[in-house]
Structure formats: structure tokens, C-alpha cells
Assembly symmetry: C2
Homo-oligomer: 238 residues x 2
């Protein structure tokens, strides 16, 4: 909206940084912990297909290498710790019930790394999916608590594993809500999301507001069931 943009510009002495001015991330290696699960495989596939160097991690090196081989696109596989060591940015795509254990075990390897948590703590019963509230507030805040020397962000929560993994799908029209405490770290994650055709990384707040972003997947499950779709999110007016 023009009115609010001009109002803001007039009150700030320094020129406002363009929020769409994002860094070149093409040289970064991206690790995907839990890279043999549906979400992890899908993300690894899309990022590699977009030209990113990707290493998927698993508890067993052999399984990771097998999955990497199946994905093609130059994806490599390694045991989780080795995956973290070789990566600049590490996406956490493990199941919620292995989240704390996996991160605790990798504290050393993840020191100083940009960690991107994309885990959705959900439960399922006869009535469908429902949100689980971690003691720390969210999966991302649990990661932040367990990895005090890493740079923790949260993103990639609302992507359909089916669409990510389907080679016939050229473009995935969706926004990736990126949360974090550090503007530069968020910008890297936004830029990574933006490498995938159709996707846009949008800064969407601090980690204390991650729970609702993670939990919204329970609603998308309901939408998918009612409308027989693979729903995602777009933010309007930007």
C-alpha cells in the first residue's frame, strides 16, 4: 500500500533496506537431516534441481546414499553428523518424535551453522490432525534451546511432499514463511526458498511466533481432505 510505505519512509532517517534484496546463496551447501523421509527427500530434490549442492543425512550412511542415488540431481548422502559437517545451511526435516534427540546428538557439528527447522509437531486421531505444543513453545524454539551456538531459523513448513517429489511438477506456487531472530540469517533462507521455481521466501516474524506456523499444517490437512488438493499458503498484498 502506497500510503503506509510513504508514511514509514518519512519517519525513518536512514534509507530503509529493501526487504526483497536477498543474498546470492548459490554457492552454499545445504544439508537435509531426515533427508530420507518424505519431506526431506522432496526438499532435497527441489533444491538440487534448482542448482543447489545438497547432502541428505540419515542415521545410517548407507540409507542416505541410497536415497541420494534415487533422487539424482547430484544429491549426496551421508550419516547425519557428516551431513551437518559438510553443510553451510542445515535443514531439519526429521519426524517430531526424533527432533530433540537428533539435535542434541549433533550440537557440535551444528555449531555456528545456519539451522532451518521445518518440523511440524502434529498428532493424529480419528478426527484428523491436531497441533502438539512443545514445552519450549515450538519445534523451532526447542531447536534454539538445544543448539545455543547455532543460528536457528524456521521455514518450509507448508510444502506438500507430494508436489515436491513429483518430477512432472515444474513450479510450486507458494510462499515460504521464514522465521528467525537475525535478519541476515532469514535472508539466506528466503533466498534459498526463492531458488525453487514458484516459491518466495517471506520474513514472517520471530521464533516465538513459530508455533502457529508449524501447527497450521493441521489445518492444511483438513483442507486437503475436504477439497482433495495439496494446499499451500500465499501471502497476499505483497
Amino acid at each position: 500500500m502506497t500510503s503506509s510505505a510513504s508514511a514509514s519512509a518519512s519517519s525513518s532517517p536512514a534509507p530503509r533496506k529493501d526487504p526483497w534484496d536477498l543474498p546470492d546463496v548459490s554457492g552454499l551447501t545445504v544439508g537435509v537431516l531426515g533427508g530420507t523421509g518424505d519431506q526431506g527427500r522432496g526438499l532435497a530434490y527441489r533444491l538440487a534441481r534448482a542448482g543447489q549442492r545438497v547432502v541428505i543425512g540419515s542415521r545410517a550412511a548407507e540409507r542416505a546414499e541410497q536415497a541420494a542415488h534415487e533422487l539424482g540431481q547430484g544429491v549426496e548422502g551421508a550419516e547425519n553428523a557428516e551431513c551437518a559437517r559438510r553443510s553451510d545451511v542445515v535443514i531439519v526435516a526429521v519426524p517430531w518424535d526424533g527432533h530433540a534427540r537428533t539435535l542434541e546428538a549433533l550440537r557440535e557439528e551444528l555449531r555456528g551453522k545456519l539451522v532451518v527447522d521445518c518440523v511440524n509437531p502434529l498428532g493424529f486421531d480419528k478426527k484428523g490432525a491436531y497441533a502438539i505444543r512443545p514445552e519450549e513453545g515450538s519445534a523451532a524454539q526447542q531447536a534454539e534451546a538445544l543448539l545455543p551456538e547455532s543460528r536457528v531459523t524456521a521455514a518450509f513448513h507448508h510444502l506438500s511432499a507430494v508436489l515436491l517429489s513429483d518430477p512432472a511438477v515444474e513450479k510450486i506456487d507458494t510462499d515460504v514463511m521464514v522465521l528467525g531472530e537475525d535478519r541476515e540469517d532469514c535472508a539466506v533462507v528466503q533466498a534459498l526458498a526463492g531458488r525453487i521455481p514458484g516459491m518466495r521466501g517471506v520474513f514472517s516474524g520471530r521464533l516465538r511466533n513459530a508455533h502457529q506456523v508449524e501447527s497450521l499444517v493441521a489445518n492444511l490437512v483438513s483442507v486437503n481432505r475436504r477439497y482433495k488438493v495439496h494446499a499451500g499458503i500465499r501471502l497476499t498484498d505483497l
Copy 2:
């Protein structure tokens, strides 16, 4: 996606109901409790402009009548209890800190009515907005607990009061996530949303998944601040 739609059809003996087949709601009177606040005024204005009969409610009849007069479009004003009595569908747009008190006082008048909670329990501090978690799980679940003889749904959380109230804005391109336990009740709310140009009402789950929908407004506040916009939500692939 064609594949999942056909898979679902084959497993169900009865023909699946078209989720876009919504009732005619043009004859319903819509009440807006808290209709003198920004969100309530904006919703009342849009619904009336779309041809709906709208009564806004306030604690003082005079204030409601004054606001109704300012809105035009045939909007009427009344004291909250009278507003509830005269309406078929009652939108709850009061501030969060008056939510429980207002609903408790209107239990009789709201008996049997379709109640649409659009309240976002948020707090604000120097770091911006953050979600407040009501004891009942969400504002909508609090309404459900306080109004056992009403039909409680939740919707209209992510609309910008600025856009709603601007007469120059012809169309608001956004989805309205509608939550509830009863399919027919949700369909009425979806149809109401659909009367406003650009809007689409989308069933998005049960009330137990309302908290994250209400709280997502904290993230939209961050988006609005960073990008200088009035962000809303679209669900993709449908």
C-alpha cells in the same frame, strides 16, 4: 489434483458432496458484536456493501447507532443483546480482553444462533505481536465453552481492517479460513465470506485447530511491518 480426487471417489459409495456447493445466505441478518471497533466496522461495511442485512452491536445503543449511521449501506445499530436477538448469524469481533465477559452476558440471546468468532488473542511488546493461548485452547473454544447452546464457528481472522474499511478498495483478494464442528454451519459462514468480492470461504478444520489460525495474525503483523503491506492469506492448489 486429479489423481487424488479420483482415488477418493472410488473408495466412497455415496457421491461425494461438492465442497463448493454453498447455501444461499442472502436472506440472513448478520449481527456484529464489537461492531464499533475497527475489525467489526470493516466487516459490517463489507457485508452490507455486498447486500447483506447487518446490525452492529455495542455496549451502548447510541454508539452503535452512530457507527451504523457513519457506515451507511443500510447498516443498523443496537445494544449488544438486541443485536444478537435480531440476527441469524452473529460475528464476535470484540477485543480479546472483553471476549469472555461479552459472551457470558449474551448466552440467552445467542441460544441456537450461528456464532462466528473472529477474535485474535494477541499481546504486544517491544518485539512486536505474540500469540496468547487461552485456557480453553483458543478464543473460538472459549466461545464454545461459554455458549453450549449456540453453534460456534471461527472465521474472518486474517482480514486487514484498513482494507475492509477503505471504500476505494473494490475487491479484497483473500481466503477466509472457516473452522467448525458442523458442516452446514461452516457452509453458511463460507457462503457469507464469498459474498464479499475477492473473498472465498474455505473449510479449514475443527475448532481444536483454531488457535494457530487466530495466532497467525501475529505473523501477519510482522509481514506488514517488514514489507509495508496489509497481508492476507490465500490457500493454493484450490
